[in-house]
Structures are given as C-alpha cells and as structure tokens.
C-alpha cells in the first residue's frame, strides 16, 4: 500500500514539473504565425502544382500575405484557381487585384511527320531532354518538337497528350490551367503560355525555327521563314520578325486573320475560328 502511494506521488511530481516546463517553453518559444496565412491557404485549391512559382500552396499563401503587406499582389497568380480564387484572396487581404487574361499552353511547332520528314534515328533514352543534347533529334530541324513527351509527363492535370499521327503534343484546353509546368520542362522552349483569347480564339506563329528561310524550309514544310509578309499585312503592329522568326503579340492582336492568309508556309495558326461557310461548300462541291 505504502509503495503505491510513493509511486503515485513520485510520478505525479514528475508530471507536474514536466507540465510546468512544457508550459514555459510553449510560451517562451512560441512562433507567431499570421492567421491570414491559414485563411489564404484554405482558399487556394491545394493542387501543389508549382504553377505559381512556389513549392506548394502553403508557400504561395505565405508569399501572398507578405506581398499584400507591401501593398500589391499583382505579380502573384494562382493558375489553377484563376481570377476567381485570386479575387477571393484579394478580398480577404483587403486589396484589389488586376484581373489577368486567362491563359493556356500553346505548342509552337507544326512539324508533323508529313511536314517534317525524319532524317535520322535516335536510339538513346526516350526523353526530350536527353535527345536535345544530341543535336537536332530525328529531324533536320534543330528548334522544333522532339516528340518524346517530356511535357506529357510534366502535366499534373492530364491536359497534354501526344498525337500519334502527327507526333506532336496536343493541349486539352478544357483541362489546361496554364501552370506552365510543360513550358518549363520543354528543352526546346516551344510551349508558350498565351492568352486564351475571346471565345478561346487566338492566332499564333506555330514555329520557333530561327534558321534562315531556305534551311528552315528544307527541314520542315510549315516552318516560319521570316519573310515578314505577316508583319507588313498587320495593321495593329502586333507582329515582329526577329532572327528569321515572326512573333505575334497577343495583347495587340485583334484576330483579323489577315496574317494567316498571307503566310506562304502556313506557319500561322488561327484556332477556334468558325470555318467560313462558302469554303466548306466549295470543298463539298469539289469532292
């Protein structure tokens, strides 16, 4: 009986001392965390995709709170949540946010198997990054898509797939959240984030080849040859030609499609435009 009492007293004493030590420590070494970080974090989608440029949503919320204290979160954006989430975050933090255009990943290469014939065979590791270290890959174009699908592996949202017939990646617009993971990983930098455009319509140069016209044409039928016809045709100064390559600024482009018509190699893509009726009818008549 006596030993039980001693045990209870000793253990109780130790517990009491430990409790005091714990209490003192928790007060003394407490780390203050801004409660807004947790609130912002609960608004973010929790995809941890890294599209915002941070390691995950927690890091992004910390950055948002820190930047909001400085007065602006305009250089931060959550591609998954988009404008909706960002405006909620801005409301919570009590600042306004400029609504950016929604973006989508665009593959700037039209080197399909028919446009760009295979010239050699690569036998090493099937990875674009590895193939990129061995010259122009399996075609004569040293700039275009290598076709091993590093971008497909990079996409966490199942939004990009290889088209077996063309050998090029295709972006699913409904799934793409413009996190930019594919664009960062592409060793040839052919994937670009561009504004989705009104009604998802957009015009872009589907080529990144900077070789001189003759060499580019030899490698790929639909290469941009830097002839500058599109730039001359454009009335809105949206097109610049630099280093044998044309580029369309999507902020200035008014989607008039004039450049598409004059491009001699059909390197300029206009997507999601309705097909003109008379053309369709003509085709039917010809068929």
């Amino acid at each position: 009986m006596n030993s039980i009492i001693i045990a209870v007293i000793v253990l109780g004493g130790i517990a009491f001392v430990a409790a005091i030590v714990l209490y003192v420590c928790s007060k003394r070494f407490a780390v203050f965390e801004d409660p807004r970080i947790a609130q912002v974090n609960s608004l973010l989608p929790g995809a941890n995709c890294g599209g915002c440029g941070f390691a995950g949503c927690k890091a992004m919320s910390e950055a948002l709170v820190k930047e909001s204290d400085k007065g602006s979160i305009e250089n931060l954006s959550c591609p998954v949540g988009g404008t909706k989430v960002m405006s909620q975050v801005a409301d919570l933090l009590g600042i306004t946010v400029a609504n950016g255009d929604p973006q989508v990943a665009v593959v700037r290469c039209d080197g399909t198997c028919t446009n760009r014939p295979r010239t050699s065979q690569y036998v090493g590791l099937r990875s674009c990054a590895a193939m990129n270290t061995c010259g122009s890959g399996e075609t004569a174009c040293g700039f275009g898509c290598l076709g091993c699908g590093d971008c497909v592996d990079a996409c966490q949202f199942d939004a990009i797939h290889m088209n077996v017939e063309t050998g090029l990646p295709v972006v699913d617009e409904t799934k793409c959240i413009a996190c930019g993971a594919c664009s960062k990983l592409c060793p040839r930098h052919i994937i670009e984030l561009r504004a989705k455009g009104p009604k998802n319509r957009r015009i872009y140069v589907s080529c990144v080849n900077r070789d001189k016209g003759a060499i580019a044409m030899k490698a790929c039928k639909s290469a941009c040859i830097g002839c500058g016809k599109c730039a001359k045709e454009c009335k809105f100064e949206a097109i610049t030609v630099e280093g044998n390559l044309s580029y369309i600024d999507f902020k200035k482009c008014r989607l008039c499609k004039k450049c598409v018509a004059v491009c001699p190699t059909k390197a300029i893509m206009a997507v999601n435009f309705p097909t003109p009726k008379n053309v369709e009818e003509k085709k039917e008549v010809e068929a």
Binding site: T119, S120, Q121, V123, G124, L125, S127, A129, A130, T133, C134, G135, S136, A140, G142, D211, K212, I215
Partner: protein, 454 residues
C-alpha cells in the same frame, strides 16, 4: 614487375585497333574548309576576317573570345566565302567561317623545313615565352575535350606542379592516331615534352603508354634514355595495363604516380601533375619550334565495314565525308558515324561536319553494332558500381536524375562523373544509365553555377 593501372573500376572493351599497322597518310585538301568558331571549351572565338578576304595556310582567322578560349588559324589558302551557320559535332548550327580553297600557299613565318633541331634546354626561350607561343598558336587539348592548353601550364596559385605526364594511353577501342604519331614523330614529341617541362618548371616527366603498343613503349624507352641521359630532366616511360578509361586524366594520374585527384573542382595539378595528350605535345613542338599554329591533326578514320580504314594527317575544316570517301566510301547500311571513338564519341547527324581541333577519330559503326537493346528493370547487380572508375554508384545517380532529385544527386557526387560510359557498357539490363547521369550532371552543374553567382 606488376604493370601499373588505376586503382578502381574500369572495363576492357574489344580493342578493334584496325589501323594499328597502317602508316599515316596526308589527306588531300578539301574544296571548301569550314571552321566552327567553338572548337574548344569556353567562349567561342571571334572572327577577324570578312567575306572576300584572302587567307594563307596559317593565317589567323578568329581570335580568342575570352580567357578560356583559343584562336583559330586557317588550314588552307584561299578566299573567305562566308561567315554563316554550319552544323558542327554538337548537331546544331553554329557560326563558322567558310573558306574556298585555292592552291596551298603557306604563311612565310612557318618553318617548313624537316631538319630536326635538337636544341637542349632551349636557352633562348623562357617559360613565359613558351606559354605565350602555345597560347597564340590556338592549341587546345587534342584528346577530345578541347581545353585550351596554355591554361593548364599556368596552374592556379597554391598548387605546385611536380611532373608532366604525357597521355599516350589511347584506351578507346578503334583509335590509333596517337600510336601512329608516336611511331612517326618520336623525336618531336620528346622535344615537345621538354618544352612543356620547362614551361611548367618541373624536372620530372612520364609517358604513360598501354601495353598493347609494345613498339611505342620500346621506341620511347630507348629514345628517352638517349635524349634525357645528359640533361637535368628525368623522363620515364610507364607501361600501363590495358584498361578503359585509363586515358581519363584522373585515372592516368592515379595509374602513373599513384595519387588520387579529389572531387571537382580539383584538377590533376592539385596533386602535382600536368597531363597532356601526346597529340598536344606534338602540337606544342610545332608551335614553339616551328612557329606553326594548330591547323592540322592526326585522325583515325575507322570502322569494321570500311574497306580501307586509315590514319590521316588532315587539315582542320575538312568535311568528314571527304575522309570517308578516301577510305572507300560509306558502307551500305544504316550506319552510325561518330566523331571520336565508340565509347566517348559523339554521333553525328551529318557527314558534312568538319574535322576540328578535338576530332581524334571518325568511327563508323554498323546499325547492328550501334543498336541498343531494350532496357530491362535494374536488378541491383551492382556491376556498374564495380566498374565506375570514379567510385560512384551509377545506378543510383541515374535513378536520382530520372526523378529530378538534384539535391541528392549532387550529394552523391554526380559532378565527379567523367562520362566514360563504363556503367552503361557493362549493364546486363541494357539500362540507359549514362544518358540519365549526363542529364543530371548538366542540371546540377547549372544549379551550382547559379548558386555561385548569387
């Protein structure tokens, strides 16, 4: 006596030295020579000629573009036709100087006489003068990597060179250019070695030769005894076991003087050795004694299917296609053409690529030889670990690279990899180990560079 070799790892691929007994031939001049501006590690050279300029053999056409860079000299006489992009060994179009060949007129400053001036101690030349002449001649390491030679001779402070080691190992299968050069120009090489020892202010020299070149070992042993007997220099010929990659700088230092070079950024001179390829030594002789800049080199053109594999003395800028034609033309098969040997060579996408300072061989492999087998899962047999001459764990590094785990890859020493390919060669599951490591190594190097600039 036990024949020396490096202490860990290594493989022994089939030798295939088809051109061992084939004397060197002088390759004819091309109709057009192409000089890529980046033939060396470091900044590309800057052109000093323009379209329409007349040049002679040995005329400076591009000057060094930075500290780690080397000038380029014309190997032909004629007219500069254009400065334009041309495919080089990397497979990409890069700026190059094109020269249309007219005649064969040499700069008058170059001494073309054949008399061998055996000047001992070279009293008229100070070490700095020797280094200056090497620098101005555009000499880069002729073994393949293309590191400007003069930098090796001006070692960083707090290092003290003790010896010069000539790399005459030639451990890659097929290649025999260095071997033929040694047999045909042994006296010049010894003078070159003496110049190098004088420039580096050391008294000891070694010549490392693999035992599959007995004629060269014998020749050099005799010559060294004759030539260096009465001088202050001590030169020793070191026969080495046949083992790949013995020609790797660090492996050679280990094999010859038994010292291990620490992990990068350490270089052989940190343990007191300056390693120079035998072709470089010959180029040093020509540059210093004959005032002849680097514009031609010994190259082996080889392959089991070629009808006449041969060693050539070839002017730089000569398209590889011309050499293949000289050897009986491209065999009819789905061939793989490599600039370099089968272990470290780079596959070419075009045979119009010119011979550059670092092209020690052109190897043509048939489709069957070059084809890879389907990779199987790794069974952790650790064969790659056993053969890695750097004591790394290739299977692990490859896995870390594939998962883009750069932090651990760096910790596990991925930057020490010398890309010899022993791991991939030996892997029974045919896994693309080196492909993955190479990717990881370049990524990790970039990360380190970024960290250092911050």
């Amino acid at each position: 006596m036990k024949i020396k070799t490096f202490s860990i790892g290594g493989i022994h691929p089939e030798e295939n030295k088809l051109t061992h007994e084939v004397p060197t031939q002088v390759a004819p001049l091309p109709t057009q020579a192409i000089f890529p501006l980046s033939q060396h590690i470091g900044a590309p050279a800057k052109p000093v000629v323009k379209k329409g300029d007349q040049v002679k053999v040995g005329t400076l056409i591009a000057e060094a573009g930075g500290f780690v860079s080397a000038p380029i000299y014309s190997s032909v006489s004629g007219t500069v036709s254009k400065i334009d992009a041309a495919i080089d060994a990397t497979g990409y179009r890069k700026p190059a100087i094109f020269i249309n060949v007219e005649g064969d007129e040499w700069e008058s400053s170059i001494d073309r006489s054949n008399n061998l001036e055996l000047v001992r101690n070279h009293p008229e030349l100070t070490p700095d003068e020797i280094i200056e002449r090497i620098k101005n001649s555009g000499i880069t390491g002729m073994g393949g990597a293309g590191f400007p030679t003069f930098i090796k001779l001006s070692p960083p402070p707090n290092t003290k060179p003790e010896c010069v080691i000539i790399n005459a190992v030639e451990c890659e299968p097929y290649i025999t250019a260095d071997y033929r050069l040694m047999l045909e120009h042994s006296d010049e090489i010894l003078i070159g070695l003496e110049l190098l020892m004088k420039a580096a202010k050391v008294k000891r020299g070694f010549i490392g030769i693999e035992t599959n070149k007995p004629a060269a070992i014998e020749l050099f042993t005799h010559k060294c005894a004759d030539v260096f007997d009465t001088t202050e220099y001590q030169v020793e010929v070191v026969p080495l076991q046949q083992r790949y990659p013995q020609g790797g700088e660090k492996q050679l230092v280990d094999a010859v003087i038994g010292r291990q070079v620490p992990a990068p950024p350490a270089i052989p001179v940190n343990v007191g050795a300056i390693v120079q390829n035998v072709g470089t030594v010959y180029a040093v002789y020509e540059a210093v004694m004959k005032r002849k800049p680097l514009f031609e080199r010994y190259t082996t053109v080889t392959g089991k299917q070629l009808s006449k594999p041969t060693n050539y003395l070839v002017r730089m800028g000569t398209p590889i296609q011309l050499l293949i034609d000289l050897c009986g033309g491209m065999p009819e098969d789905d061939n793989k053409v490599l600039a370099g040997g089968p272990m470290m060579g780079k596959a070419l996408i075009s045979t119009e690529v010119p011979i550059c300072k670092g092209t020690n061989a052109v190897t043509i492999l048939s489709g069957d030889e070059a084809r890879r087998q389907t990779p199987q899962p790794c069974i952790r047999c650790a064969k790659c670990v056993a053969v890695c001459p750097m004591g790394l764990e290739p299977y692990l590094l490859a896995k870390l690279s594939a998962h883009r785990d750069w932090e651990h890859a760096e910790h596990d020493g991925i930057t020490s990899c010398i890309e010899c390919g022993s791991c991939q060669f030996t892997c029974p599951a045919h896994r693309p180990i080196l492909d993955n490591i190479r990717l990881g190594k370049s990524s990790v190097m970039n990360i380190i560079k970024l960290r250092q600039t911050k």
